[in-house]
Amino acid sequence: VRVIDSTEQLAEPTEHSRPSILRARRRLNQVPWLLALPAVCALFAFHFLPIGFGAYYAFTDWNGLAHAHWVGLANFREIARDANARGALWHTLELAACFVVAVNAIGLALALGLNRAVKSRHLLRSVFFAPVALSPLAIGFVWAWIFDYQGALNRVLAGAGLGSWRRAWLGDPRTALWSILVVMVWQFSGLAMVLYLAGLQAIPDELYEATLVDRAGTWLRLRRVVLPLLAPAMTVSVTITLIIGMRVFDQILALTDGGPVAATETLGTQIYKQTFYLGRFGYGAAFALILTALIAVLALTQLFFLRMNEQRL
């Protein structure tokens, strides 16, 4: 966005005004940086400085109290050696990837379904978006009972004559991670829906009608007109849901606490447990550095590619 200098329009150049006077007046009229100082300090004090320090601690054996000793790559080697630590990294990537795909697919479908014509669309949008406002922890506890062996899902299965499908969904290493995924998708599909609806509303009606006049089929209209115009909404939605997915923590503490047998440990839970539970601040920082680097790299590359895609369309 190009910012136009306010004084350019204000001070009409007359025969008396010389460039130096103009410049001085412009400087006087500028908003002083002093007003931004507290927020800029906060940005550095709570983001960039501690990220820098944290990145340094990732290469130390710091315990949060004593002097930190530089240990080089030892923390990262330990992560690479330890099966549970590798598992945490892998589960995070698995969860985040499936989460982004599922949430965006469902959100897009809901947005297209609720965009026009449907009479109850305002009510239904409110319903699908409501879980986004709630605490992921509280929602996790609700689903903990649904997935419980005595819980709702197994009872419904038994009632439907599928009793053999019953299992302890969260107690079984094969299903625990996917149960967590279901909870995350349930909570955040409405967020993707809202972002795509914002994109759909930016599509001018005339364009949409023109495609109707041309008798373009629904699928063709979707592919050639609607989806390309939704590219900016997709960029934002994928970025936000990727960050949410990579940082997953609350739901896991509510549902499985990382178990069974570390089948649902993620980077988020490992950062918490290693640092604040076991006091291994250096080792925890190494996990956090991996998470930060992954989010930065993934978010920025996909932003770059999706923006390029937007320009091509």
């Binding site: 966005v1 910012v3 306010s6 204000l10 908003v31 940086w33 007003l35 931004a36 927020a39 800029v40 906060a42 940005l43 709570f46 983001h47 501690p50 944290g54 990145a55 601690y57 809901l110 609720l114 026009r116 014509a117 109850s120 239904l124 978006f129 986004v132 406002a133 709630l134 605490s135 992921p136 922890l137 509280a138 506890f141 609700v142 009972w145 649904i146 709702a152 914002a198 006049v213 900016p232 909404a233 934002v236 970025t239 936000i240 990579m246 940082r247 609350d250 503490l253 509510a254 988020g268 950062i271 918490y272 604040f276 920082a285 956090a288 550095l289 998470l291 930060t292 989010i295 930065a296």
Partner: protein
């Protein structure tokens, strides 16, 4: 209008979506129905709506949630959320005004830094911040949590305000400045009234985030008198292993106020999240 014609296919679509919405709402139904059951009912027939209703779970959950009852946790959450949001609005709007109104590279660069601050996760920063704040005696206190929230959510706040202010015409401010008003007076009297819509969005979005924040609250407030609702809920559920009717009563108490708030604030929440779609 060919767009809004209500055909038979639209009806089918509508019915399908309503059905999906009903299934979507089932977890909410479960919270209410199980919160009103006795323990015996929960094990016998948990899916049917309880008769007779058993409201005693709510008072038990209210008294025993967290360190000092759910009421204390709700109060802590309220104090922390409101103070953090006020701090964010004051400092964030001033900063965004400067960024949006200054020309030149520096303003653009500072804006990019704030956007980067949104993307980078707090998990790495929180480790040194925790040790630093423990050193200052700010762990487990309202003040520490408020300062932390203001710092962590400043990038999002500045991003939302800057986008809005950039789209505002400068005419009113310039008229005020020509009339001799100073920069702060102009900001207070001219700019702030124009900022109400985005201030609502910032307040709702950051308020919801602070209210629901769990990771940081767990690290900074667990076991303290200042613990917020999610932390209280976490220890509460741990203490009532498998007493689902009590747990769900506690959940209902904490979910209900947010759902009520959501009903009238959802417009702002949507606007906050979709700010990036237009910018």
């Amino acid at each position: 209008m060919g767009l809004s014609r209500y055909t038979r296919r639209t009806l089918v679509r509508e019915l399908a979506l309503v059905l999906v919405a009903v299934v979507y709402c089932l977890p909410f139904y479960l919270v209410v129905s199980i919160a009103l059951e006795t323990t015996a009912q929960t094990y016998r027939a948990p899916l049917s709506f309880p008769r007779p209703l058993h409201a005693g779970n709510f008072s038990t959950a209210w008294r025993t949630g967290g360190q000092a009852g759910l009421d204390h946790a709700l109060l802590s959450s309220l104090i922390i959320t409101v103070s953090s949001v006020v701090g964010l609005i004051v400092l964030g709007s001033l900063c965004a005004y400067t960024i949006a109104r200054r020309s030149g590279r520096l303003a653009g660069g500072v804006y990019v830094l704030f956007v980067l601050g949104i993307i980078l996760p707090f998990q790495l920063a929180i480790i040194p911040v925790y040790v630093g704040m423990r050193h200052l005696g700010l762990v487990g206190s309202y003040l520490g949590m408020i300062v932390l929230n203001v710092g962590l959510l400043m990038p999002l706040t500045v991003f939302l305000y800057t986008g809005f202010i950039r789209a505002l015409p400068r005419d009113y401010e310039e008229a005020a400045r020509v009339d001799g008003a100073g920069i702060l007076l102009t900001f207070r009297r001219v700019v702030i009234p124009l900022l109400w819509p985005v201030t609502g969005t910032v307040a709702v979005l950051t308020g919801i985030i602070v209210w629901n924040e769990f990771f940081i609250a767990l690290v900074f407030l667990a076991g303290s008198h200042a613990q917020t609702v999610p932390v209280a809920l976490y220890s509460f559920v741990g203490g009532y292993a498998a007493r689902w009717n009590l747990i769900f009563a506690g959940l209902a108490i904490t979910i209900a106020p947010i759902l009520a708030f959501y009903l009238f604030a959802q417009r702002h929440l949507i606007r906050g999240f979709s700010a990036g779609v237009k910018g």
